[in-house]
């Protein structure tokens, strides 16, 4: 029997996705000694890799893309309309959003493109464009408002995954709103049989020596006159250090951007890798393992062969994919047994745990689903609340998707909430009482 290694820290962060990482980095920057424990890569790895903060609920259909409000104003509007959303629960602290976004951009510096005053409008493989407050450098050139000239959607010859013609035809509809003219081309990168490869396999293929350059050259050969930027499937490498997007763009001689994709999305995988690199660079100790026997801040907990003691915790364990909230007949929060009582829509605020699934869902798929927005209820300082509405434990904060009241995976606010709540929770945990 190996005796566990004992580690003491001021702040323990549970969860290694966007919220947990930003919390750890923010606490570290505030001078705290931080340990982050994670069970697996966060659900952030399954995201599109771009950061949506808030779709503006008052935006008019068909209004010029240029009229879009910046992320803070859009989040304020959303908070007014959705009282259960974390943006509303945070109250005045929502105003920290620009600081939080700037902090995240700095922390993930080589990967993320500098933010603009307005959202970028990034194309998806469905042919829609979605607003993103932050995005990766490999995605930024696809911003519909930034393309100087025509936007060319390049499909890979020999692969069905992306229907370039469909995406281009669909994006053409944004022209009336200030988007660029779009064309589709098919490029044959001479990479051999691609037809049966899945996205991650394509990404790995493109990391091989010469492959990215071959794709770039094929794009260059296929470019129509007047092209301003090229959109490709989001398969430009798995590891940020392989620099596939840069190599492709270099060989193509034109700005190349990745579309936002469904799951699995390689930019999401690269975002997760960048989070891990940032933790290492900041000197946050990362412990791999599921936590066991947690009773709350102050008491030691075991994670793998390590025993960690910290007076203040940030719970950033995610929602269902992350495992921060689970349902086995009843909804529960597995790490500490906190009550699951926050949701959005008609069931908000009631005790959700024991209600049957159909009672927590609406018949219309789109629209708020209390079950899928279920999570912890927190106060404006991100302290989880017990069933009577009081802070559940001294020194405990929550961040990211484990906080309920929003559908983090699908309402366009997930990573924005993760960054803002991670930033606030990390700072609050590092400086108890200090300014909070």
């Amino acid at each position: 029997m190996v005796s566990p290694r004992a580690v003491a820290a001021e702040v323990l962060v549970v969860g290694g996705g966007m919220a947990g990482t930003i919390a750890a980095l923010a606490a570290r920057e505030a001078g705290a000694r931080v340990v982050l424990v994670r069970r697996a890569p966060g659900a952030t790895a399954l995201s599109s890799g771009a950061v949506g903060v808030a779709p503006d609920p008052f935006a008019l259909p068909g209004e010029p893309l240029r009229a879009a409000r910046g992320p803070l104003e859009a989040a304020r509007r959303l908070a007014r309309l959705r009282p259960d959303h974390p943006y509303a629960v945070l109250g005045d602290r929502l105003e920290a959003l620009p600081d939080a976004l700037a902090f995240a951009t700095r922390a993930l510096a080589p990967l993320l493109a500098p933010p603009l005053e307005r959202p970028r409008f990034l194309a998806t493989s469905f042919g829609t464009a979605v607003p993103a407050a932050l995005c990766q450098r490999s995605q930024a050139a696809g911003d519909l408002l930034a393309v100087g000239g025509a936007l060319v959607v390049a499909g890979l010859a020999g692969h069905l995954g992306l229907d370039a013609a469909l995406v281009a035809a669909s994006l053409e509809r944004y022209r009336a709103r200030g988007g660029p003219p779009t064309f589709a081309v098919e490029v044959d990168a001479g990479l051999g049989e691609l037809g049966l490869l899945r996205p991650h396999e394509l990404a790995r293929r493109l990391e091989q020596p010469g492959a990215a350059e071959a794709l770039g050259a094929a794009i260059r050969a296929a470019l129509p006159a007047g092209a301003g930027a090229v959109l490709v499937a989001p398969v430009l490498g798995l590891r940020p250090e392989a620099q596939v997007p840069e190599r492709v763009a270099g060989a193509a001689g034109i700005a190349v951007a990745e579309l936002l994709a469904d799951v699995p999305s390689m930019p999401g995988v690269r975002l997760q890798a960048a989070l891990e690199a940032a933790l290492a660079a900041a000197g946050v100790e990362v412990v791999q393992g599921a936590i066991q026997g947690a009773t709350g801040p102050g008491a030691p907990i075991a994670a793998g062969a390590t025993e960690i003691t910290a007076a203040r915790w940030v719970l950033a364990t995610g929602r269902f994919v992350g495992g921060g909230i689970a349902r086995r007949g009843t909804l529960r929060e597995p790490a500490l047994g906190l009550p699951v009582q926050a949701a959005e829509g008609r069931e908000a605020g009631v005790d959700l745990a024991a209600r049957p699934a159909a009672s927590l869902t609406g018949a219309a798929r789109v629209g708020p689903q209390p079950l899928l927005s279920a999570g912890l209820r927190v106060d404006a300082r991100l302290r989880p609340l017990d069933a009577r509405g009081r802070p559940a434990a001294e020194g405990l904060h929550a961040a990211g998707a484990v906080v309920g009241g929003h559908e983090h995976a699908s309402d366009g606010t997930g990573l924005g909430v993760a960054i803002l709540t991670g930033y606030l929770a990390g700072r609050a945990a590092a400086r108890p009482g200090g300014g909070e």
Binding site: P55, L196, V263, F320, R365, V366
Partner: protein, 545 residues
């Protein structure tokens, strides 16, 4: 007149009758308000069983079903698979009471009697298993069982059975219109003269004329008849099934629900199915969903003998409406499973036939009977029925999946799924890969769906909407809920059918809606995790910006 007969309803009776009528030389129009099999047929238990349940009450339903089960094996050998069932001997108390023993003996006699029918459907005779043998075969059963008897049944993909009948009818000259509702049955001078219809996708309205109209719209037929001045008495019963993500038993297991009703857990393709409820339904047949109490009822019943089902991942809860013959008084279970053919002459609608009741397993015989009646109504000379001899499309051969996998760039398990769904036509589908190797992409690893299969179904199997592919090739019905396959399939179908980008997204949304309705009451554990992923992956498809 435009047609000899207009058939309303694309369930197994509508498509089966369309096939028979077309094969006997009649000019046929079939109108289906949605897609083939969407009602009771496709949402049945998916069994070509001999109807042992009906042996006591409707013995000739059993005989009819068994004989026809044999015929269906002949005409669609690829689509059927054997499901041996166990009927365990249970007792509530410690040690068997005399009453228990009497019940077991009765079960043996019962199944032994069923053995007399088994040769009709190429079933194996029943056997008596000791407790030891029973647990060796089915270790997941709860302890304390005294043995079992076995009986042999057949499973089928009921959606494909409907589609294959429809396609065969089309090949014999019938005209098929899906997503086209018969709005009203038109009559004149005491006789029907046709149907007014509306195409739900194009909005086109029209009238088709025929001297005979066959109303096979199942649970929808009372309302249709009422609108047209006739009456069809029926007691629709809602039946709910659950799909579990894998096989939770090696054999079908027959067991008792909390109220003593008989129910079952059975392996079906790669999954298990738990069924079924049977409750009178007075609601809107277009808006029928499983409820949490029905789900819990089924889980409790299944777990009474297979406790592992309590921890199972339920992937769907689906339901249909049985069109049981009307009777006032009996419980749902005790209603006859026979079928009745109502003649509209009494309502001044001579030439209108409406079918009530009947079973999936007997669809072919029912269709034959209806076709005979139609010929008589038309005053035609009898023509012999051949639907039990001529194979359904793809049923002429069952290729060896391993050989297909050697000859084409597909894995053997994928080839096996292809053969199961398409029989001899699997060869045609794999030939698509020679022209376009990209079509070898496996869209869904759960269900083994090739891009080529999607393209084939869209081109040749009367697909008008993306959700039709749920029924042709199980698109987005597996545990993955469409995570991998939905978008690419929408693109492929859109390309084949000339959809605009907006239509592609609308069809994708419609496909996901259909899955959501079936998962809403069962979201739990890993399936809830999957739901979060699927919603996240498709959020941008519905982006309003």
């Amino acid at each position: 007149m435009d047609y000899d007969v207009i058939i309303l309803g694309g369930g197994v009776n509508g498509t089966g009758t369309a096939r028979d009528c077309a094969m006997r030389g009649l000019r046929v129009l079939l109108l289906e308000k949605a897609d083939f099999g969407v009602g009771a047929s496709g949402n049945s238990s998916g069994m070509i069983h001999g109807g042992i349940r009906y042996m006591l009450s409707d013995r000739h339903v059993t005989a009819l079903a068994c004989r026809d089960s044999g015929y269906i094996q002949r005409i669609a050998p690829h689509l059927l698979f054997r499901i041996p069932f166990l009927m365990p001997f249970t007792s509530r108390a410690e040690g068997a009471t005399l009453r228990d023993r009497a019940a077991w003996y009765a079960t043996e006699v019962y199944v032994g009697t069923y053995d007399l029918f088994q040769p009709l459907k190429h079933g194996k005779p029943s056997t008596r298993l000791s407790a030891e043998e029973l647990y060796r075969l089915e270790p997941g059963l709860r302890p304390g069982l005294r043995g079992a008897v076995t009986l042999d049944e057949w499973g089928i993909d009921a959606f494909r059975l409907c589609a294959l009948n429809a396609l065969s009818a089309r090949a014999h000259g019938a005209e098929l219109r899906t997503w086209t509702a018969g709005r009203e049955i038109l009559a004149e001078g005491g006789r029907v003269r046709g149907v007014r219809f509306r195409d739900a996708l194009t909005g086109e309205e029209g009238e088709a004329r025929a001297p005979v109209v066959f109303n096979a719209t199942g649970a929808w037929s009372p309302a249709l008849a009422r609108r047209s001045g006739a009456a069809v008495p029926m007691r629709p019963g809602k039946g709910v099934h659950l799909t579990l993500d894998r096989r939770y038993s090696n054999y079908g297991v027959i067991l008792s629900a909390v109220d003593g009703r008989q129910m079952f857990v059975m392996p079906h393709e790669d999954e298990s199915i738990v069924g079924t409820t049977d409750d009178d339904y007075y609601g809107d047949p277009d808006d029928v969903e499983a409820t949490n109490d029905e789900v819990e009822y089924l889980v409790e019943g299944a777990a009474s003998l297979l406790p592992g089902v309590r921890n199972a991942r339920i992937t769907r809860a689906w339901c249909g409406l049985r069109t049981t013959i009307y009777a006032y008084g009996p419980n749902e279970d005790a209603l006859s499973r026979e079928h009745q053919l109502h003649d509209g002459a009494a309502f001044g609608r001579a030439g209108l036939l409406s079918l009530v009741g009947g079973k999936l397993a007997s669809y072919r015989a029912q269709s034959q009977e209806v076709t005979d009646r139609i010929l008589a109504l038309l005053g035609r000379a009898p023509v012999p029925c051949r639907t039990h001899e001529e194979p359904l499309p793809g049923g002429d051969e069952v290729p060896d999946p391993a050989a297909l996998a050697r000859a084409h760039p597909v894995a053997a398990p994928i080839a096996a799924r292809l053969v199961y769904r398409h029989g001899g036509r699997a060869r045609e589908i794999l030939r698509l890969l020679e022209e376009d190797p990209r079509l070898g992409l496996v869209l869904c690893r759960d269900e083994g769906i090739l891009a080529a299969e999607v393209v084939h179904c869209v081109r040749h199997e009367q697909v008008r909407r993306l959700q039709d592919l749920r029924r042709r090739c199980r698109l987005a019905v597996g545990a993955c809920a469409g995570l991998d396959c939905a978008r690419v399939a929408a693109q492929l179908a859109g390309r084949e059918l000339g959809w605009s980008p907006e239509q592609v997204r609308a069809e994708l949304a419609d496909l996901l809606d259909a899955g959501w309705r079936e998962r809403r009451p069962i979201l739990d554990g890993a399936q809830l995790v999957q739901e979060e992923l699927v919603r996240g992956a498709h959020a941008a498809a519905g982006a309003p910006w």
